[in-house]
């Protein structure tokens, strides 16, 4: 007996009608926006070798990847991320291409989410990668594209900036074991103030320790920069803060101060980020919609040492937010014209339909035996006009 032949696997679902229209609409808006900035689309395979994602530094957790084997018994995964495969392509086929490379994509990723949490395992992402520049203008270009992408999704949005190097530099100055550092990272990421304090109490007091104590609270508007520089005096940290502050000022000039926020304790699930990191939120959704940043060491893992920056938009999340704002769809959209053909006139009907479609009308063929049945059908389905074809062409 086939027990599972009428349902889809957990974390996946069928999208119908209006939801598909909305999805295509968002995807094409974003693609248009990326294309207008000179980004070219690439598509990478859904299946990749496990090795692509099992890197020395911060591998993807293997329990979160869908795995299968190829005909030779080699381990494959359904790609859990879009940036890593694109890094692979840049380091191989695009190795000799002139830099910078501007690439965009619109494809699915697959992650095994915890059961019964109402999360998707298959997520559609649209994003860009700007490869080959470590300039501030590159970061700014990416952030500006992110702001426009969020705006194109509709609704009220917020953009949040951080810097992965900030936390790393503080950690480097901290006299603690790697295991403790990993725990600290966890506490800061989850803004777990009580656990963070307990953990730091076990370490000797230092400037880095007291800065880390405050790190989860270092988020908000521009005032964060003053707070942070009062805490950490080291020149390395000061340089990072100055950089981020300058970036913040440029971004708030074109996106509006109220929309641009800072979180110095921000950390991403994927840990290939090295510099500026960003997140985007839409009001009415409990998680980030957009996520990205600078990853200068990732391509080097594929043997091509160039800096890069980019972001991805979670299309499924945007569709969820926007479809909540629409009335639920109960009927399919009606055609404009129903063409009914008498016996022997079918070919003429097909031709007549084609002519009408060229004028931009939605035309469907009646499948009814009689004209009366066709009229009843048209009335029931909200089709305004019925066109009977009863005369075959002389010939």
């Amino acid at each position: 007996m086939n027990k599972y032949d009428r349902i889809t696997p957990e974390g996946t679902r069928d999208s119908l009608f209006a939801e598909c229209t909305l999805r295509r609409d968002i995807e094409s808006r974003l693609h248009g926006l990326f294309a207008a900035r000179g980004y070219s689309e690439i598509i990478t395979p859904t299946l990749e070798f496990f090795d692509v994602f099992s890197r020395k530094a911060q591998p993807f957790p293997q329990e979160q990847m869908y795995k299968l084997t190829d005909a030779k018994g080699r381990l494959l995964v359904l790609r859990p991320d879009n940036t890593v495969p694109i890094a692979r392509v840049c380091a191989t086929r695009l190795r000799d291409a002139a830099l910078p490379l501007r690439l965009c994509y619109n494809q699915n990723i697959h992650v095994i989410s915890p059961s019964l949490k109402g999360r998707d395992d298959e997520i559609s992402q649209s994003g860009i990668e700007l490869i080959g520049s470590d300039s501030r203008m590159a970061d700014l270009e990416v952030i500006a594209a992110a702001a426009d992408a969020l705006k194109a999704c509709g609704g009220e949005y917020a953009l949040e900036l951080g810097n992965a190097a900030f936390f790393r530099t503080l950690m480097a100055e901290l006299p603690a074991s790697d295991a403790v550092k990993e725990q600290l990272r966890d506490c800061i990421e989850t803004k777990n103030y009580p656990a963070l304090n307990d953990l730091l109490d076990t370490l000797p007091e230092s400037e880095a320790a007291s800065a880390l104590r405050m790190l989860p609270r270092l988020y908000g508007g521009e005032e964060v920069f003053a707070k942070a520089s009062a805490l950490c005096k080291s020149s390395e940290i000061a340089a990072i803060l100055d950089d981020l502050h300058a970036l913040w000022q440029s971004v708030s000039q074109f996106a509006g101060k109220e929309r641009v926020r800072v979180d110095l304790g921000m950390m991403h699930r994927t840990d290939y980020y090295t510099g500026m990191i960003l997140r985007g939120y839409l009001s009415g959704y409990g998680e980030e919609i957009l996520s990205g940043g600078r990853y200068d060491k990732l391509l080097a893992e594929f043997g091509y040492d160039v800096p890069a920056t980019g972001f991805a938009v979670n299309i499924d999340a945007v569709v969820k937010v926007l479809s909540r704002q629409q009335a639920p769809q109960t009927a399919l959209p009606a055609s404009n014209v129903l063409i009914w053909a008498a016996k022997g006139c079918e070919a003429e009907a097909v031709e007549a339909a084609r002519n009408l479609r060229e004028k931009g009308l939605v035309v469907e063929h009646s499948l009814s035996e009689t004209l009366d049945e066709a009229r009843t059908y048209a009335a029931a389905h909200g089709i305004d006009s019925v066109l009977p074809i009863e005369q075959a062409k002389e010939g």
Binding site: N192, Y285, E287
Partner: protein
Amino acid sequence: MQRPLRIALTKGRLEKDTVGLLEQLGFDCTAVREKGRRLILPVGDGSIEVVLAKANDVITYVEHGVCDLGVVGKDTILEMQGKFYELLDLGFGRCKFALAVKKGTDFYSGYGVKTIASKYPNVTRRFFEAKGMDVDIVKIEGSVELAPLLELSDGIVDIVETGTTLKENGLEVFEDVCPISARLIANTVSMKLRQSEIEALVSQIEAYFGNA
């Protein structure tokens, strides 16, 4: 106009303690005290509303952002985990996770693989994983103390408050796993988009604890 700041409370004792705390801070909680069967209740001037839920559901609602804040025990957080911010130790609902065995037994003696009964299989697994120790875990829904008495397991990992239940059933704490208390958690996006409201409440609570 934005909806009120929504706080999910764990029904039962944590709910009472939190309502007590909110009242100390000057919020009018009459609606919660006289709730009847309602599950969503306004607090104070209507800028906050309280949702009553089971412990695990508090985390689910906060994770998905349909509630901005939540009050839930560290026990539930450790077992469920998930993506949210843990802002404050509220100090009440104090107890601990502990490994308990039949009185007088040495849990670690012998070469056999041990069986542990628990309502908290994830907490149990992590505790023994950290020790590099293979154990069989059996999930029990009701009174876990029964499992070692019926010889289903060698020990239990459970919440221990006073130890009276253990004592009355001939069990004793063999080793503490970790302390537990009530925590204030926040949805990650609410924390950013409603920062001033949440921070105001958090600092009010901190100030109260600071003076108490």
